[in-house]
Point group: C2
Chain length 219, copies 2
């Protein structure tokens, strides 16, 4: 639901000469849009960094699925035994087996701290997701998601905060754990009430974050 694994210039950092040794352990792999990148359980676990495109981490059960995170360029993640990983766009990642990663980790306190930080962050996000699922209804979960996107990927302009949300209603539903129809109506209610504005396909504008936060207001 929330993605905050972005280490500003992880990729640039890795391209510096002093990290050449580590860098060369990463294999660059590309996937076409919608490709399944990793499935739970099998194959060797991987640590990977997104170089291009968006990557979706999700749980699936029968014919439903639920997005845990949508990674952007620079985000780092590790495969684990429960989640699926798929390409939301054509994308490229830098991947390395977890085992090899651990070797570097035990050698370097800095590296170690980084990994612990990532795990901790991941855990915090998980709790946020649980909190939303248990205590909030669909509309509130949508609001949380929009606020998060606005703050993390939005750009402030004269009319408010503009942000790219390049997801279909169905994909959005998978993020907040709801159905296409319910999300569609909820988003439209927000638009009608003016707390959200649709600029173009995939780009929305929030005139006022505070007002969005306590939607739906009295009435």
């Amino acid at each position: 639901m929330k993605t905050d694994l972005h280490t500003p210039d992880l990729i640039k950092e890795l391209d510096k000469p002093e990290h050449a040794r580590i860098r060369q352990e990463f294999r660059e792999i590309s996937y076409p849009r919608n490709a399944l990148m990793f499935t739970p359980g099998h194959a060797e676990d991987c640590v990977f960094i997104v170089k291009k495109g968006r990557v979706r981490i999700y749980l699936a059960f029968e014919d439903k699925d639920f997005s845990l995170a949508i990674l952007n360029r620079g985000d780092i993640y590790t495969t684990h035994t429960r989640a699926f990983v798929a390409a939301l766009d054509d994308c490229t990642i830098l991947a390395m087996p977890t085992a090899g990663f651990y070797r570097y980790m035990t050698g370097s306190p800095v590296f170690n701290r980084t990994v612990m930080g990532i795990l901790g962050e991941l855990l915090k996000q998980s709790f946020s997701i649980i909190e939303s699922l248990v205590f909030k209804d669909v509309t509130q979960r949508l609001v949380e998601f929009l606020l998060y996107e606005a703050r993390s990927h939005g750009t402030k302009g004269a009319e408010g905060v503009a942000m790219p949300i390049d997801l279909t209603m169905e994909q959005l539903a998978a993020v907040v754990g709801s159905s296409r129809q319910t999300v569609s109506t909820a988003i439209n209610e927000m638009i009608k009430s003016g707390v959200l504005v649709k600029k173009t396909r995939g780009v929305y504008l929030v005139p006022n974050l505070e007002v969005l936060k306590d939607f739906p207001h009295c009435g």
Copy 2:
């Protein structure tokens, strides 16, 4: 929802002479039943081991709350910025500031691995919880919980697996994310259909785990 931080003899291990130095960093603290042990946000983060009694980790929002885990003797956990920690019984813990714990960690690869393992386990559990919340209904979540308890704390007898579930319907509801009433009726349906037997207050018996697993069966 699921608790598997039990390292068989963590407490005995810690009492061995070779660990005396670490052991003395832990402070022993006791709390009465229902006491709030840690709240999110404030005070210093702690790593702690349960020595006596049960400890509940939970999220709270307005007047609702949701249990993330119920720790038993020997379980280890770390405070973090989101969850509350309360005493389910009169209990005693061994606690140590997270910062100090980290110092030992960086020095010792074994220690390090242990902590990484705990974090990983915690993450896995979180995903299990999310999966249940998103994909399963209340009855199925209850079944999962009962199966988990049976496997982890049950004792196999002639009539099936007996296990202690010393929780009120309300506490059980907090574990599966539902209401007292709904849980009460669901449990009684199980009892009526024979997949679950109430031995005495706080002790239940599962005649057959497989049958419980696919409750409710056809009809």
